[in-house]
C-alpha cells in the first residue's frame, strides 16, 4: 500500500521563503516590470531554482531523519537559514587597492548567488524585449502604411484621458512623420514598415498595451 508522508508538505514553507527571496532580486532589477520578468522562461526558472534550494534542504533533512519534530519551525529555519547562507561572505585577506588604501577581500556564496542571479535575470531582459517586439508585430495593423497609422493616431489621441501625455507623445510622433516625409518613404516599402514599428514602440512605451490598441488598432 502506498504511504504518503504529508509532513513533506511543510517544505512548502521553505519553498515560499526561497521564492520570495528570489523575487526580491527580480524586483531590485526590474521594479514595476518584476511580474512580467518573472513570467519569462529565465525569470521563472530563476525563481523556481531559488525556491527549490531551501525546499531541498528541508526535504533532505527530514528524509534523512535529521529533523523529527517542530516541522513548521524547521521549515522556517531552512528557508531563512538557506537564504542567510547564500548571502554570506567570508574574510579572506586584506590587500591594497589601486587608490593606495587597504581593503578587505571577502568571498563566499553571495558571489556565486550574484553570478547566478545576473545570468538568469539578464536573460529575462532579452525575453521582455522579445515580448514587446512580438506585441508590436502582432498588433500593428498589417494592411496600413505609416501614413494611415499616423492619421489614426491623430484621430484617436483626443479621446485619451490624459492630454499632457498625448501632447508629449505627439511631439515624438511628429518628429517621426517629419523624417518619413523628408526621406520620401514609399508606402508599403521596407522603410515604411520600419517607421510603422517605430511609431508602435513610441506609443507602446508611453501608454502601454491597452493604450496602444486604443490609439492604433483598426
Amino acid at each position: 500500500m502506498l504511504y504518503i508522508d504529508w509532513s513533506y508538505l511543510y517544505s512548502l514553507v521553505a519553498f515560499v521563503i526561497g521564492g520570495l527571496a528570489g523575487f526580491q532580486g527580480v524586483y531590485e532589477k526590474y521594479n514595476r516590470d518584476s511580474i512580467k520578468a518573472s513570467t519569462t522562461f529565465p525569470g521563472f526558472f530563476y525563481l523556481l531554482s531559488r525556491a527549490a534550494f531551501p525546499t531541498a534542504v528541508f526535504a533532505g533533512s527530514y528524509g534523512f531523519g535529521l529533523i523529527k519534530s517542530y516541522l513548521l519551525l524547521a521549515a522556517l529555519a531552512c528557508g531563512t537559514g538557506a537564504e542567510l547562507f547564500l548571502r554570506t561572505k567570508v574574510f579572506i585577506k586584506q590587500g591594497p587597492t589601486s587608490q593606495g588604501s587597504v581593503e578587505d577581500l571577502l568571498k563566499g556564496p553571495l558571489d556565486l548567488l550574484r553570478w547566478y542571479q545576473n545570468l538568469f535575470l539578464d536573460a529575462a531582459a532579452s525575453g521582455l524585449a522579445e515580448r514587446r517586439k512580438n506585441f508590436i508585430k502582432k498588433n500593428l495593423p498589417r494592411e496600413d502604411a505609416f501614413q494611415a497609422l499616423h492619421d489614426r493616431f491623430l484621430k484617436n489621441m483626443d479621446a485619451w484621458p490624459n492630454p499632457a501625455v498625448m501632447t508629449k507623445l505627439k511631439v515624438e510622433v511628429d518628429k517621426l512623420k517629419t523624417e518619413v516625409d523628408a526621406k520620401n518613404v514609399q508606402s508599403g516599402s521596407d522603410l515604411d514598415q520600419k517607421y510603422k514599428f517605430k511609431l508602435g514602440y513610441l506609443v507602446y512605451n508611453e501608454v502601454g498595451s491597452k493604450g496602444f490598441k486604443t490609439l492604433l488598432s483598426s
Binding site: 529575462a124 517586439k133 508585430k137 515624438e172 514598415q193 514599428f197 517605430k198 512605451n205
Partner: protein, 83 residues
C-alpha cells in the same frame, strides 16, 4: 577628435537607454526612444558589439533585431552614470 567624442556620446546614450530598459531592447525601439538616427545607431551598436559591450540577436533583420547589453557593458554604463 570632435567626431570621436560624438561617436562616444552616441555609444554612451545607447548603453544608458539599454540599462533603462533592464538591459535589452528591440533595435527599432532603441531608435525611436533614443532619437538617434538609424545609420548612426547602427554604427554605434556594431562598435559596441566589437568591444564586447552589447550582443545583437537576429542581426540581419531590423524588425527582429534585439540589442542586449553584456556584463561588461553594464559595468561601463554604471561607471558612466556615477562618474
Amino acid at each position: 577628435m570632435s567626431q570621436q567624442i560624438e561617436a562616444d556620446d552616441v555609444s554612451s546614450k545607447v548603453l544608458q537607454s539599454l540599462i533603462k530598459f533592464h538591459g535589452a531592447m528591440p533595435f527599432l525601439e532603441l531608435t525611436s526612444i533614443s532619437g538617434i538616427d538609424d545609420e548612426q545607431l547602427e554604427q554605434a551598436v556594431s562598435e559596441l558589439e566589437e568591444k564586447g559591450l552589447v550582443r545583437i540577436i537576429n542581426p540581419d533583420n531590423d524588425l527582429e533585431k534585439i540589442i542586449s547589453v553584456t556584463g561588461e557593458g553594464q559595468r561601463l554604463a554604471q561607471s558612466q552614470r556615477s562618474g
